[in-house]
């Protein structure tokens, strides 16, 4: 410890709050209850005060800690990053509360990665706006820069689009993807997992039938009322996937990515760290797929001389941070006239056929987000209705049951040739996209997978393929009625919160 680091700052911001000094950064050695690395910096909170004045004070307080933390990092380089190096064994032993892990994950979300901590790779350019294959850019210094529109952890501007799986130089060679808002991500994973379980149930029922009857068994794949076509199981247990619709043959509902090809937040988070920042998790390094992590092998496959760029604990904290994001909200418009329009718009959504894919809500059996240990330890569980960031999902007042007001069927659909890309993406045909959930949509402009639609009107009118009929029905409405639909969509937003930046 350098003598010039102010003692008061250490006492004030480190020791007194269960944080770490250089000594306590040492690994926890798996001892139960030891917290090891990681430190709460008071820059992130799950709490959203209802009172605006209180909210503003809280925002300014977090901002003050952010500023002072930046100074402390200047005189003690690496402090901000070390504060995110939380140990997986300590997490799994319960040494950190979920609320604290949210804060640490949020610190990582807002941390600017540098080559010193592992940003980039030896085989990659210092900055690659158009990505190179599955190796990525690197194209962003931190998560927050592309997830900040419409509020914290929001979406990205059109200028923030990611250009995936390209040749590293040409825009035309890459697949264009607008960064999505993260509100509700944990609920999305839960509802998708429940649907996957339901489909697995259908499959095993059919398998039992086929086995006992000795004949192929065919049945409809339905989860939460959404049909994914039909499945045929042969007596030997093998599947005929020909009639499956809108989902992969593995029958896993994958609610993340515009193409619906990622099932869990952890997989998403780990891939984004790799693609956008060249920050390689210990887990991916151990998997050692050179096409993704780099050609150099060993503990440093990207050859940048930094090993253990992202620990399992950091992946867990960042995953929980994303999973615990607030639930999007539906707020009433500013005038009674527009409230009436919104009600009318809701009816139009049904009659036009919008809600046949943008299903307005799905039932939720449970609200616990579970992150299984990848090292044989205890799972981390968070009840989003109790511990998520505010505002949280709440049960129906009368029935006590939960629904997610997603406006999605979590299924892939063909949306026509105008929206189709130049090629398929990891097996998903060029014109197929996951029905994007519309909750919070008013805070996520511009719209569509490549952000080509500046306004809701444009986005609706650009639908084709399976959505052509609904699109044409919308286009045939009088402007005042189209306005009703747009007003309804504008009520799908986020709860207002005070921010300082």
């Amino acid at each position: 410890m350098k003598t010039r680091i102010p003692a008061l700052a250490l006492l004030g911001l480190g020791l007194a709050f269960g944080g770490c000094t250089d000594e306590s950064i040492a690994p926890a050695n798996g001892s139960v209850g030891a917290r090891g690395g990681g430190q709460i910096l008071h820059t992130i909170s799950t709490h959203l005060p209802v009172d605006q004045r209180e909210d503003a004070t809280a925002a300014l307080t977090r901002d003050a800690f952010r500023r002072e933390g930046r100074f402390l990092d200047a005189v003690d380089p690496g402090r901000l990053f070390r504060a995110t190096r939380v140990d997986e064994p300590a997490i799994e032993s319960g040494a950190w509360s979920n609320d604290e892990l949210y804060q640490i994950g949020g610190q990582l979300f807002n941390f600017t990665f540098t080559p010193r901590v592992g940003y980039g790779g030896k085989d990659l350019p210092a900055y690659g706006r158009f990505q190179t294959g599955r190796r990525g850019g690197p194209d962003a210094p931190r998560c927050e820069t592309c997830h900040s529109r419409g509020g914290p952890q929001g979406s990205g501007d059109a200028a923030d689009n990611a250009y995936l799986q390209g040749d590293g130089n040409s825009q035309a060679s890459a697949l264009e993807r607008n960064p999505i808002a993260l509100a509700g991500a944990g609920l999305l994973e839960i509802v998708a997992a429940e649907m996957t379980a339901e489909l697995a149930g259908v499959r095993s029922t059919l398998a039992d039938q086929a086995k006992s009857s000795g004949k192929p068994a065919r049945g409809e794949l339905v989860a939460k009322g959404v049909s994914f076509g039909h499945l045929t199981v042969k007596p030997d247990g093998s599947l005929d996937p020909a009639e499956i619709q809108g989902i992969d043959a593995d029958l896993v509902v994958k609610p993340f990515g515009w193409k619906g090809n990622v099932a869990t937040i952890r997989d998403m988070v780990e891939d984004e760290l790799l693609l956008h920042h060249g920050m390689e998790s210990d887990f991916l390094v151990a998997e050692a797929n050179p096409a993704r992590v780099g050609p150099f092998g060993g503990a440093d496959p990207d050859g940048d001389t930094v090993t253990s760029e992202i620990t399992e604990g950091q992946v867990t904290a960042l995953t929980l941070f994303v999973a615990m994001q607030e639930a999007p909200a539906q707020l009433t418009p500013v005038s009674s006239e527009q409230t009436l329009l919104a009600a009318k718009g809701r009816t139009f959504m049904k009659t036009l056929g919008c809600t046949s894919c943008h299903v307005s809500s799905l039932p939720l059996n449970g609200t616990t987000f579970t992150l299984a240990s990848r090292g044989g330890g205890a799972s981390v569980k968070v009840d989003l209705a109790q511990e998520g960031a505010e505002p949280r999902i709440a049960p129906d007042e009368q029935t006590g049951s939960f629904r997610v007001f997603l406006f999605s069927d979590l299924k892939r659909h063909d949306v026509g040739k105008d929206l189709a890309e130049a090629r398929a993406d990891r097996g998903v045909p060029a014109a197929q996209f996951l029905t994007p959930p519309l909750w919070g949509v008013a805070r996520t402009r511009p719209f569509l997978h490549d952000a080509r639609a500046a306004q809701l009107e444009d986005a609706i009118l650009m639908h084709g393929g399976e959505a052509q009929k609904a699109r044409d029905a919308y286009a045939a409405l009088a402007d005042i009625d189209r306005g009703a639909v747009r007003v309804l969509l504008t009520t799908l937003t986020r709860t207002p919160r005070m921010v300082t930046q």
Partner: protein
């Protein structure tokens, strides 16, 4: 909470007697940047501002939803209306603010009519299309802020390949009114000095050697002959026209209205009526498109895409934006280190180009129109958003162009054929909120940016590199105090 603390740390907390009632860990002491929490009155003012904007935006949002393109209704602000004082400066500021976050559409003239997806790499000097709004690339660190590397403009390229383009990171817009006014005063002084020398040479019949200096900043020398020929070979950091051009990474634009006009054209394909009027006299096909009609050079069926009144409004808005501030650390020990860092900023030599304070003589800025005799007169210290600073503008720039060496040089020539390694001294105010740094955003941290300097700045860069680590840290810490005033707003 306590049960989760390691025993050793828990003991420290207990010994310190810092446990709050109820066994909860103590709340940390907030390191307020101004030394104390905002007063009730200050908080009221911040909240009022935040709520006013939120109510307006929410109202506009629903109105725009129910009536398509309603939010474009502010776009036809004509210069005639501005000249007739139809709008006061508060309204102009509000319109400018709305313009800044307005997402342009085809109905407003976005693109050239053939848009399908973003064109991130510009096609020659014609532009991209790379976003829908100013705020798209100017919102990092707060409203009217900077851009992230993903938002970098890739200018003057082939329309597809990243390596064909010049990369430009979007700078923050705070304080640009002061910058514009300082540039104008400096230009005026330099031109006055030249005119005085011309007069003197003529009347004395002898050549005059003139050291060009304004506001204590040297721009080299001129030799003026009695026959009015001028030797510019010793001119330094400014064009022969002696106009300071503080905007653009290479210092190519002197007025905010031209900056706005250029940005709207390049990034949205929104062509100002002033540009169309110029096209009428002399068609500028490379910058504006093939026509054939002068009033619609990009031939998208939209004319008067950007009224002159809009240029005046947005330029006035930008001139009224708040000014960055210096906020040292709260901790007394860190403050000592901040003071050391501040002294090092001078002793290392950073301040020889990043001049700390440049005095502004005139309080009033006249936003003059291009086609009428009208103007908006802005008091730079009383009109617009707080804080406004003082007339000793803490801008940390000399507004000169310098050679920064081959390491930072552009990979290609740019349209003005300025040397590839020459850039304008970037004003450092607000620095802490605008990472990453340098013209292409290559430096994630301030020390990285310092160490990337070369050319004219090589000695200062080397002096920094030779400092002991603690001194480097102190200088870094000092530069992190160049920031913007803490404010609250409702997230949008």
């Amino acid at each position: 909470m306590l049960r989760r603390l390691p025993a050793r740390l828990a003991a420290v907390v207990l010994l310190a007697g810092a446990l709050a009632p109820g066994g909860e860990a103590p709340s940390p002491v907030t390191p307020w940047p101004h030394g104390a929490a905002p007063s009730a009155a200050e908080l009221d003012r911040l909240l009022d501002d935040a709520k006013t904007i939120e109510e307006r935006e929410r109202f506009e949002e629903f109105l725009a939803a129910s009536e398509i393109n309603e939010d474009s209704d502010h776009l036809p602000i004509t210069q005639e209306d501005v000249d007739a004082d139809v709008y006061d400066k508060k309204i102009l500021f509000q319109f400018g603010d709305e313009f800044f976050s307005h997402q342009f559409t085809h109905a407003n003239g976005y693109g050239d009519g053939s848009f399908k997806t973003m064109k991130r790499v510009h096609t020659g000097v014609r532009g991209g299309l790379d976003t829908f709004s100013c705020a798209g690339c100017h919102s990092l660190g707060g409203p009217d802020g900077a851009g992230s590397p993903t938002e970098n403009a890739m200018i003057q390229g082939d329309g597809d390949h990243a390596d064909s383009a010049l990369v430009r990171n979007a700078p923050a817009m705070l304080g640009v009114g002061m910058v514009q006014a300082l540039g104008a005063e400096m230009s005026h002084e330099l031109q006055f000095e030249r005119q005085t020398a011309l007069d003197q040479a003529k009347s004395t019949g002898k050549a005059v050697s003139l050291a060009l200096t304004t506001k204590g900043i040297s721009f080299g020398a001129l030799v003026v002959q009695p026959d009015a020929t001028i030797d510019y070979s010793a001119l330094d950091g400014v064009d022969f026209d002696l106009v300071i051009k503080p905007f653009g990474r290479k210092g190519t634009i002197s007025r905010l209205r031209r900056f706005v006009e250029d940005a709207a054209r390049l990034h949205f394909g929104e062509q100002s009526h002033i540009l169309a009027l110029g096209y009428q006299k002399k068609p500028d096909v490379p910058h504006l498109g093939p026509g054939p009609n002068w009033y619609d050079p990009d031939n998208d069926g939209r004319q008067r895409e950007l009224e002159e009144g809009i240029l005046t409004t947005v330029a006035s808005y930008l001139a009224m934006l708040e000014v960055p501030v210096v906020l040292p650390p709260a901790d007394p020990g860190l403050r000592d280190r901040w003071a050391n860092g501040s002294a090092l900023f001078d002793s290392v030599g950073c301040s020889s180009c990043h001049v700390r304070q440049v005095p502004l003589l005139y309080t009033l800025w006249h936003e003059t129109s291009d086609t009428t005799a009208g103007e908006v007169v802005i008091n730079l210290f009383t009109d617009g958003d707080e804080p406004r600073g003082t007339n000793l503008v803490e801008v940390f720039s000399d507004f000169k162009r310098h050679d920064l060496g081959p390491g930072l040089a552009d990979p290609h020539d740019e349209e003005h054929k300025l040397p590839r390694s020459v850039f304008l001294t970037r004003p450092l105010w607000g620095l802490a909120e605008t990472p990453p740094y340098l013209h292409d955003g290559r430096a994630p941290t301030i020390p990285d940016a310092i160490l990337a300097h070369g050319g004219d700045a090589q000695p200062e860069r080397d002096a920094f590199a030779a400092l002991p680590p603690d001194d480097q840290a102190d200088l870094h810490l000092f530069l992190l105090s160049l920031t913007r005033e803490p404010k609250v707003r409702v997230a949008r």
